[in-house]
């Protein structure tokens, strides 16, 4: 399941939902707000989503992950609104019988979310005006480009 939330993401509560006696592996990825990007000191972030489509695209990614990898379950929640340094922006859990599929699926999910889910990030800096961060292609030279 893919979710968007305006509330703080609480990993301890979430992980309890994915207890499974068949699961020999549980991989959790937490994407957190860091205090710098592209040489600038970041004070906070703001995420804006196109909710209906973000939900659909997120679901497609989780469905594809379950098709590509031998998973027992996969879940992803992404934050919307204003976040401070250290807050969790995205939380992904994958469970599998063995670790390899859980690891690979986790990486596939975060990489694909960054490319296709319509969510935008506005960085607020310690110095200077806020700006929307462009991250169309997370690999390569355009990664940290702002406009």
């Amino acid at each position: 399941m893919f979710q968007l939330t305006n509330a703080a993401i609480c990993p301890a509560q979430l992980r309890e939902r994915f207890q499974d006696p068949q699961a020999g592996a549980m991989v959790i990825f937490e994407g957190r707000v860091r205090n710098h990007n592209a040489g600038q000191a970041v004070r906070s972030l703001e995420y804006q989503a196109y909710p209906g489509m973000a939900q659909k695209e997120g679901q497609k990614i989780l469905h594809a992950a379950k098709t590509k990898f031998a998973l027992l379950d996969a879940f992803c929640v992404h934050a919307e609104g204003h976040l401070n340094i250290g807050d969790i922006a995205i939380w992904i859990i994958t469970t599998a019988v063995h670790r390899r599929d859980a690891y690979l699926a986790s990486e596939y999910i975060i990489d694909t979310v960054k490319k296709t889910v319509p969510i935008w990030k506005r960085e607020h800096y310690l110095l200077g005006d806020p700006s929307w961060v462009a991250c169309h292609h997370c690999q390569g030279p355009d990664h940290a480009k702002t406009f």
């Binding site: 992404h78 995205i90 991250c135 406009f147």
Partner: protein, 81 residues
């Protein structure tokens, strides 16, 4: 034909609105025609090549013909995660 256009991220700031109903006199018209029409109204700094387009919540080609009542969102470079 009337198209519902929603704006996000810097397109929202530059349009000064979240959404609107756009009346297109030109028919047939595709998503690229719609963006050209909007460029006449707003100081958008993103070129069509920097955008993707979603029609009724599905990624689509800019050459897709629009229908009356479609919802169109031009997608600036995304940055989730």
């Amino acid at each position: 034909m009337k198209i519902k256009v929603q704006y996000y991220a810097n397109l929202r700031e530059q349009a000064g609105r979240n959404e609107e109903l756009v009346e297109l006199a030109q028919t047939p018209a595709n998503a690229a025609d719609l963006y050209q029409h909007l460029l006449q109204k707003y100081p958008f700094t993103l070129a069509e090549e920097q955008l993707k387009v979603a029609i009724n919540e599905e990624y689509s080609a800019f050459t897709t013909s629009l229908k009356d009542g479609d919802t169109v969102v031009f997608i600036p470079p995304v940055a989730g995660g």
